[in-house]
Symmetry: C2
Subunit: 551 residues, 2 copies
């Protein structure tokens, strides 16, 4: 029988988030990335979403390692939750390791976890896999692609990437190595599809630096810049522009402070001497000597920028004389929260730079022409588009076909799909368990579809509790039912409705043959009488919860 | 004492939606527009939001009429709710009247309402006001601006508008009349600020028609077009493109069918003979003879396009051989729902045209250069930016200043602000009640801040009811407390937590001196014990509702 390799995406397909891909060969497994996703609006109360890893739990003895492409939350965010279920050694570059370490510390997992730092250019042996780390450009430093070598062939897994000819750290994505791999022969390419809808090239990170220089030059306001905390190179460019203009820089917001610390310690951030200052101290300088770097580029409610806008930031009061630069674009779904913050800043008289056309932000993901270059260099036999919604996967599949791959050599998979490769063939062959596991508070997986359905119902129309104290002997009501509502209606202004509701419940409870009736039947009768009455009078459907106490 | 005019915006400022402006002069009042707003994500369960009109209720005897600029929901959507509180004669153009009529019928208000149709160019006398209707271009036919003449001076209220040199109905906005008014002298201009952030000009509606022709020509697929139902001219262009290419047109989706009916009856839609077909019949034609016009351009869950995408549309199955054209852009907040529908269509093999760059949609609102033209033509003494969020109002104020208005002659108001004008001065002078009134089911205003706060809490962590049957004589628990949860945790998998919870509740109920304790005290003790325990063990804060039944 021909040797086989399996590629099993456990997350990242038909969604943006929780990226995780399993590679299986010769009875052994490696995992690439272990990300989280932010919950959609319909996932009431859920803090974050992680992939279902039951397949890994079941096969834990066969796992040789977890390999991380870079330190974004959609690639590392699920690590603490997953490691508690399946321990695996983690291989990643230095900055990624620094960020993972913060998570492990927070979850008390430092001691139990093997975290191995690898440099781009190196290769790690993990069972029957040799995993080669290849430098790529992306919106966080120290990102890599993997060439996963097996004796059946090599799979190139790009991770998130772009081609930046003028990157901030001086290192262009290692196109030469990708081209070499192409010449040696690439069995399959698994690639980032995020920006496949966009024609052309992604602008260089350096373009944003030019914007900063333009906005800083001759400016006599205090400058406040917000961006994604993880974009180390972006923050570096803010610091550079500040230093060039004789300004000091202070940092505010927990995630920004954390990442500044890690990236400075590890040498990814180069801060000119005497440039950084404590947020509490910078205020004593003239406004045109201050730069503040802050979290909140998505308008997040607890972020430092939000607190400045709504006057709840402890150290910074903003107003006329301040210029806020929003160096980010709103992630789909966040447009309104960003807009709320911008409006509030305007109201305070702050000058806000937020226009798309002003080159305040560039994407970290490859557009069509960049993707074509990667396809042209690696010349893979098979192709699996990853990291994208359905339309992106399909458009990426077409792009691959334009580059010469046969349609049957492309697999548009689902999370959980088993993509089975031989050296000659590729097919979807069944699936493993996959899906969304919800993290809510300290609970992982204890909130599911039923609980969410109830939350949705409660959110929309609130609830009505009907307490029915009945005699254990003859089933008679011992006192009139008590009605308690929350989230339904303003009770003090609805006294007659409440009184009528009590009557309806009482009549229902006393109707029929009460002796033979069990609790379930009584609850059912009262529930439908009350629900019907409420829908008739208010056109609403609160959750009605009858409680029978037999005494 | 100098004569005074008051302008009081009751909605539309610092928001997009529920536009309503009060004009007061010589003891008399007219109202311009009466719109609704869609609830934000934080308004759980609310169906729609209308302006607080208590000022109008209080002054009902002084109101001379409600004047409508056009038939969009953010200008007419609150009419039935407001009319039930304050009856007023309504003056508007024919198409607007047709749409208002549908609402009045639905709410049983046809008989009690005076609805007067006016044509652009005509002037209506309403007490001390003479209201002149001036034709403008916008994304719905038959839109007008008003020149509100009083013997103190004239106020120009633009309503929503753009300048379209090649409009579909052949009538360009009446710039000549606006220029004449400018020469005669305009006291104040109140203008649409929606697109003031965008430089340049808004493209003509005709540009979208060109796109349709390009996409229809030589196409052998079935074509499905979705757009805003109210955009009569857009639908007209779809029909024209269909007729030119020998295709029949069917319409699906309630609001689309309604507006087609009204606009065809009133002559705003010109349908070539034998072009329209019933949706049930069009299916028997070859695919390249069909065009379907549908609701759902915002990905709305109950819309016809959504149902096609998710295979729940009764008449239309989509798949390969179908081309869906999304002739709309996503309203902020709807990006994700639109994206969900597009992904599902891709999954079914449908070709989807949805790219911003493809000129599939144009805005109905004036950009900066158009606004400048209106300012230049009307040359107002005072300026009030309307219809926009804070940043838009401020940017519009700056634009007006660039056009030569003094800063003190611009009023950036809030909803409820009283803008007081004499012929020489303008100032903000106090305010009237204003705000959001929530419509939920059949209730108007019976859901307020407290109810919403409870819904939010319930949505996030669900709730826990603790039933405490206690002896009326000695306050002793008559049986162990019963615990009921909804939206909190999956109970069957959390048996030990539930058991422990019962113990915690029981201990709390029996602690201290139970005899002297009243119900409130008992509830408080149990509530805090249970809440603390739950937060400690789950890091969640469900709503805890202790119910004491004394027997
Ligand atoms: Zn990334
Ligand atoms: Zn990513
Ligand atoms: Zn409009
Ligand atoms: Zn409007």
């Amino acid at each position: 029988m021909a040797e086989k390799m399996k590629i099993i995406p456990l997350g990242g397909l038909n969604e943006i988030g929780k990226n995780m891909t399993v590679y299986e060969f010769g009875g052994e497994i490696i995992v690439v990335d272990c990300g989280m996703a932010f919950p959609g609006d319909d996932l009431y109360g859920i803090d974050l979403v992680i992939p279902d890893v039951s397949y890994l739990i079941k096969n834990r003895s066969r796992i040789r390692g977890l390999f991380l492409t870079h330190g974004h939350e959609d690639h590392i965010g699920a690590i603490p939750y997953v490691l508690k279920q399946v321990n695996m050694p983690i291989y990643c570059t230095r900055l990624t390791a620094g960020l993972v370490k913060l998570k492990l510390e927070e979850h008390g997992l430092i001691k139990s976890t093997k975290l191995i730092t690898v440099e781009a250019g190196e290769t790690v042996r993990a069972g029957k896999f040799n995993v080669e780390f290849i430098h790529v450009n992306h919106s966080i430093a120290d990102s890599v692609a993997f060439a996963i070598h097996t004796h059946m062939g090599t799979v190139v897994h790009t991770g998130d990437f772009k081609i930046d000819s003028t990157p901030i750290d001086g290192e262009v994505i290692d196109l030469a190595r990708l081209g070499e791999l192409g010449k040696e022969g690439v069995l399959a390419l698994c690639a980032d599809s995020t920006n496949v809808e966009r024609p052309g090239f992604t602008m260089s990170e350096k373009a944003v630096g030019h914007t900063f220089k333009r906005l800083f030059a001759g400016c006599d306001q205090r400058i406040i810049v917000t961006t994604f905390a993880s974009n180390v190179h972006r923050v570096q460019q803010v610091i550079d522009a500040a230093a060039e203009n004789g300004r000091k820089v202070a940092v505010t917001g927990r995630s920004m402070e954390n990442i500044m610390k890690v990236s400075t310690e590890l040498g990814y951030m180069k801060v000119p001497k005497n440039t950084l200052m404590d947020i509490a101290k910078i205020k004593s300088l003239p406004k045109n000597k201050q730069v503040i770097v802050t979290t909140g580029s998505q308008g997040e409610e607890m972020s430092a920028l939000y607190r400045m806008a709504f006057s709840t930031h402890k150290q910074i009061d903003v107003g006329p004389g301040d210029k806020v630069i929003i160096s980010a674009s709103a992630i789909p779904g966040n447009e309104k929260t960003v807009s709320r913050v911008v409006n509030e800043l305007f109201r305070k008289g702050v000058e806000v730079c937020y226009n798309r056309s002003d080159m305040l932000h560039v994407s970290g993901h490859a557009c069509q022409e960049e993707l074509k270059i990667i396809h042209a260099l690696t010349r893979p036999r098979f192709f699996v588009p990853l990291h994208g919604e359905q339309r992106m996967l399909q458009i990426h599949s077409r792009l691959a076909q334009d580059m010469g791959i046969e349609p049957t050599h492309v697999a548009i998979a689902e999370n959980g799909s088993i993509i089975e490769l031989t050296t000659k063939t590729m097919k979807l062959n069944g699936s493993v368990p996959s899906g969304e596991v919800f993290v809510d508070g300290s609970g992982v997986g204890d909130v599911g579809a039923v609980v969410l359905r109830d939350r949705k119902r409660l959110a929309e129309d609130g609830m009505v509790v009907v307490v029915l104290p009945v005699s254990a002997q003859n089933g008679a009501l011992l006192s009139p039912p008590e009605i308690i509502t929350r989230g339904f209606i303003y009770v003090k202004e609805s006294e007659s409705l409440m009184a009528e509701l009590q009557n309806v419940a009482m009549e229902a409870a006393e109707s029929g043959s009460r002796k033979r009736r069990d609790d379930g039947e009584l609850r059912g009768t009262v529930k439908s009488a009350v629900s019907n009455y409420l829908f008739k009078t208010t056109k609403r459907s609160p959750m009605v919860i009858p409680v029978v106490t037999r005494l």
